[in-house]
């Protein structure tokens, strides 16, 4: 009884390696497309979406109650919402709404509506209280971990102009800035300073 060569179905090592390699390449491509990209431009884009929401909420919220405006000294431009860069680690940027207390109180409080957390890979370096449409200059105010920034929006559909500057915590050369223009937020993101 001879023991001839076995004809059991199966793959050779080479075949297996080719398959694994192909699956690996495809997985890598898919992951790059689907996974969150932790570069400064993405954080700037997220911040700009919050800016837009801040402007929209200001219009939708309407005018601040007159007695609250007087009591808190908010005249002549009482804000309805604000984009608030919080002094937290990691940094958070929040959309806040000025909520009046019920009468007879003439006070109001800032209520957080939504927020984003800036990934630890990205750094909010600083800001400038104007809309910087042309590259150059960088931030006029550098932000320490305990510094806060407030950008206000008004029921008139307008916001304060501002530019937020992002780069990476690792010191790479990636930079981005989110430019908030007065008209309805209308934010723009640039991949450079």
């Amino acid at each position: 009884m001879s023991r001839g060569r076995s004809h059991h179905a199966g793959f050779t090592l080479i075949e297996m390696m080719v398959v694994v390699a192909i699956i690996g390449v495809l997985s890598m491509l898919a992951w790059n497309l689907i996974s969150p990209n932790l570069d400064p431009a993405d954080s700037a884009e997220q911040a700009s979406m919050l800016m837009r929401e801040t402007a929209r909420r200001a219009t939708a919220g309407g005018a601040v109650r007159g007695d609250v405006v007087t009591n808190l000294g908010l005249a002549p431009k009482p804000p309805r919402t604000r984009l608030h860069v919080l002094a937290t680690t990691p940094r958070k940027i929040a959309v806040e709404r000025l909520q009046e207390d019920a009468l007879p109180l003439h006070s109001a409080n800032w209520i957080q509506i939504q927020s984003m957390t800036i990934p630890t890979e990205v750094k909010l370096v600083g800001w400038r209280p104007s809309a910087v449409l042309i590259n150059g200059g960088g931030p006029s105010v550098l932000l320490n971990p305990t510094d806060e920034v407030v950008i206000q929006c008004y029921p008139t559909s307008q916001c304060d102009a501002a530019t937020l500057y992002f780069d990476t915590s690792t010191g790479s050369s990636q930079q981005a800035r989110a430019v908030l223009m007065p008209l309805g937020g209308s934010p723009v993101v640039y991949d450079s300073w």
Partner: protein, 402 residues
Amino acid sequence: MIALIVSSLLVAMIIGIFTQMSAAYRTQQQVAELQQVLQASEATIEADLRQAGFRCAQGFTWAGSPASPISALTITDGGTGPQQPDQIAIFYGDPSAQAQVTAVPASGQPLTTVTVDAVDASWAIGDKVLFSVADPGVLGRLTFEATPPPEEPPTSDPNSGTATIPYYYACVLQISNINGTTISFSTVAPWGSASNAQCDVARRKIALPDKPAMLYKFVARAYRIDPTRKDLSVFQQSPSGALVANDWTDLGIGFTNFQIASRWYSAATGAGDNSDGDADAFRNWYSSTNQNFLSTADVLSGVTPADYSKSLGGATNSLEVPLQVSVSFVVRTTRHVVDGTVTGATPELQVAGNVDANDLGNSPKVQLAGVADASRPQELRGDNIYRYATIKVDTRNLGVNR
């Protein structure tokens, strides 16, 4: 191997769908941005237009023009043809911040301080105020037209035939100090002068107790598209109504066109002027450079009630009254479109065959599809989505009884 091929195809298909959906999402996000910017633009300019001319309906004087009144509404047409945006300036007193003047310096003394009944909490040093005296006796009681214009229903109210419309003598001052109820005014350009002579006429019209001077916060706004940065297409606002040079501030980008048309009542040009074709010879839409010469500022002498009357027979004066303003914006995406959904042509903001007298403007559409970037105006280069909106606003403080 077959399984591998099939699974590879599946993965490729999933990646393709994901890429397409991402592109569609980003595109829709940009369109949503456009809509929001358009809405904000409309809201901003609409609020100003609704108040245009409050307490300065016949114009106002300021330190830069102490003798000749400035029109409460000034339109500067950019020209007839593609991509020639217009400019508009709007002026009014803000009634939410007002005070009554109880004492002014003696005649012949410079108008550097006044006493008011109460200082509005929102006023601050540097604010501009409108010093306005209303005289109901100049124009008298005006009579409605015997035959209403075609678009208005006939009135059956026997008491609605007449109305008293005050004539406003108005000038602009800048607050330099506030001490109790005493307000001091700047004597420095651009908003002040040594004697603040821009208010000479208005202060002579004060007659207490019936005709006091009132102070209102002065609001001046001008809007345009920056002519120097066409690649960014920047929409701008001037906080002085463009009275002070180079004080334009950026409001938003991506604005490729801004067209103004306006409907005016004009007694003088009324007879036989029906160029907008609505069968109303006294009220016409103007949409080209013909708007540049229309003015609410009464620089003529001897204005009488007859000049303001709607009576078809007696009007000879050329004082004009704006009734409505039509504002059109065109906005494009600030980033190039990623999924190929681009706009083939910009909107037509005119009525072909009547570019001078329509309710849109004088700007034809510009073909984009199939036209190379180099052959397009600078602000229309790149593949973008365009959105536009037109609003018509009644200028209620100016068009009373017209």
